[in-house]
């Protein structure tokens, strides 16, 4: 009989708290263990700390207290270049896109590959393929400042997944896209997840939560609670 092997832990948080300047803690005593290949929605009211939690996951912020390990490395003891190497394994989709508006759609999507020093021919091949897939190849050379909100969102998603990340963090990724595009993007996330990518999607969308039966990381009163699909259906699909 094959011995059961515990999946690799992608993110481990122990007693994590975060505060800004001398203000009160926004998140307190967060304990979290995200396993490889898992898929979670991150929910909570506006201001509950979803963006702060995500920003600690993609290593933009250190916690005020507690410890965070990403891909098995405690970020408190990881050198700057080591952090950069960890970030290359993470794809991030921001709520406000955070595209570089003076660059073309192509250059924006190519960014994660170029910072890794990938050969330019390979960059062109991969970016062109992905822009075709998100139906934006006709805007390849347009600066992102000229694109609509939905198009920007698709560029932001393409940028996050171009490097085939091991961890994908998305903040309201379907918030600005048309109804016919949203399922397609979610399908992309699901496909990536099936290929082994760990996915965390912060969302307010009940439809998304109901359509896809994944566990929720729910932020409430500065704490993190985990709800599993059966529990969610029992609670009526959402947490107030």
């Amino acid at each position: 009989m094959e011995k059961y092997r515990e999946p690799e832990t992608i993110i481990e948080m122990q007693n994590v708290g975060i505060r800004y300047d001398q203000g009160p803690e926004i998140l307190s005593d967060i304990k979290l263990s995200l396993k490889k290949g898992s898929f979670h929605f991150l929910t909570g009211k506006s201001g509950a700390g979803k963006t702060s939690l995500l920003s600690m996951m993609y290593l933009q912020q250190r916690p005020s207290r507690g410890s965070i390990s990403v891909f098995g490395k405690n970020i408190n003891f990881t050198h700057r270049d080591g952090l950069a190497m960890l970030r290359r394994r993470i794809g991030v989709v921001f709520q406000d896109f955070r595209l570089l508006d003076h660059l073309s759609a192509f250059d924006n999507v190519a960014l994660p590959l170029r910072v890794c020093g990938m050969d330019e021919r390979e960059v062109r091949k991969r970016v062109t393929e992905l822009l075709n897939w998100v139906e934006l190849s006709r805007h390849m050379q347009d600066t992102t400042a000229t694109l609509s909100g939905g198009e920007k969102q698709r560029i932001a998603i393409a940028r996050a997944v171009i490097n085939r990340p091991e961890l994908l963090l998305a903040d309201e990724p379907t918030g600005n896209v048309d109804n016919d595009i949203a399922p397609k993007l979610m399908k992309l996330f699901v496909e990536l997840n099936k290929l082994g990518t760990t996915v965390v999607i912060a969302t307010h969308s009940d439809k998304l939560i109901n359509d896809f039966a994944y566990p929720q990381l729910h932020l409430q009163n500065r704490s993190l609670h985990i709800h599993y699909p059966s529990e969610i259906s029992r609670l009526g699909g959402r947490h107030a």
């Binding site: 933009q60 970030r87 062109r124 390849m140 050379q141």
Partner: protein, 304 residues
């Protein structure tokens, strides 16, 4: 059918649009302009000292004071006789390899610049000068030789140039020190300006740098973009500054050459010196590039 026309890759950091770019380029131009003029001054002083040393090292001068007499012809003949005695004595001294009394024409040529064209030198009592070359390893007791010379030829006096040369060297060294201080100040001020404008620019582009970091860029990736831009500004600013310094250097050189037979005309820039001056844009490029690179690295250390 998707378009497959690729435009050239743009730098992620739009540094070309920074308002500080023009300021830095102008500042570097001015710095290199001052640097080039000061450096050519330092190199000229060096060449002047080298020429003085070369012409004076291993040589002595003996001066025969003219005999004072109402009969000019008799006085001239007696002065010449003292010169003969001095030459005979000097040829016997160990370490002296060549004794050359200067001819009348050479003497006139030496004295003319000091008296001007309006004076008839022929009517003046002229001292005689004997040029002496020493062996490279000559170990001469100058005081003893001077004493023996005075006995052999009472009108003769020995000059080993050291006293006036030392004063000139002291003066030249002082000038060099001032020039070096200016060079250090100019370099320091320029580096400081690059440091602060780079920091300012980092603040302006903080959002883009954050994105680059989140995408996995190392500090080196950001620093290289700054270094590349600053290398361009440093190099181009350096070329502009050097270009404008040439007329000034040539003008000062032409002024120096007008002082005929004097000390400053010895101050010419050699081919090697010109190479050093012309390499200043490379120097400004390197300083700008490295200052920006390390400023970025140091500043980014404070970010996560």
């Amino acid at each position: 059918m998707p378009r497959r026309v690729y435009t050239p890759r743009k730098q992620e950091l739009p540094l070309k649009g920074d308002n500080t770019s023009i300021f830095l380029q102008v500042m570097i131009s001015i710095a290199v302009f001052i640097f080039a003029i000061t450096l050519s001054g330092v190199l000229s002083i060096n060449s002047m000292l080298y020429n003085w040393n070369r012409s004076i090292l291993g040589s002595l001068t003996v001066q025969i004071m003219p005999v004072n007499s109402a009969n000019k012809e008799k006085a001239a003949a007696e002065t010449l006789a003292y010169q003969e005695k001095a030459v005979e004595f000097l040829k016997t001294v160990d370490g002296i390899v060549k004794v050359t009394p200067l001819q009348d024409e050479q003497l006139k040529k030496l004295i003319q610049p000091w008296l001007g064209d309006g004076v008839n030198i022929d009517n003046l009592p002229m001292p005689r000068i004997i040029d002496i070359k020493l062996a490279p390893d000559a170990d001469i007791d100058f005081a003893q030789v001077a004493q023996n010379l005075a006995q052999a030829s009472p009108q003769a006096s020995l000059d080993n140039h050291k006293l006036w040369l030392n004063k000139l060297i002291q003066f030249a060294d002082g000038l060099k020190l001032i020039a070096m201080t200016i060079l250090i100040l100019v370099t320091g001020i320029t580096s400081g300006a690059i440091f602060y404008t780079t920091q300012m620019s980092l603040g302006l582009h903080k959002n883009i740098i954050e994105i680059l970091h989140i995408m996995g860029a190392k500090d080196t990736y950001v620093a290289q973009q700054y270094a590349k831009r600053m290398a361009f500004l440093g190099g181009s600013g350096g070329i502009i500054g050097l270009f404008f310094s040439f007329p000034v250097i040539f003008f000062i050189g032409s002024l120096a050459r007008q002082i005929e037979g004097g000390i400053i005309s010895e101050a010419n820039l050699s081919f090697g010196d010109w190479l050093v001056v012309c390499s200043l844009p490379l120097f400004s490029l390197t300083i700008s590039m490295t200052t920006a690179y390390y400023t970025v690295k140091k500043t980014l250390q404070k970010m996560l």
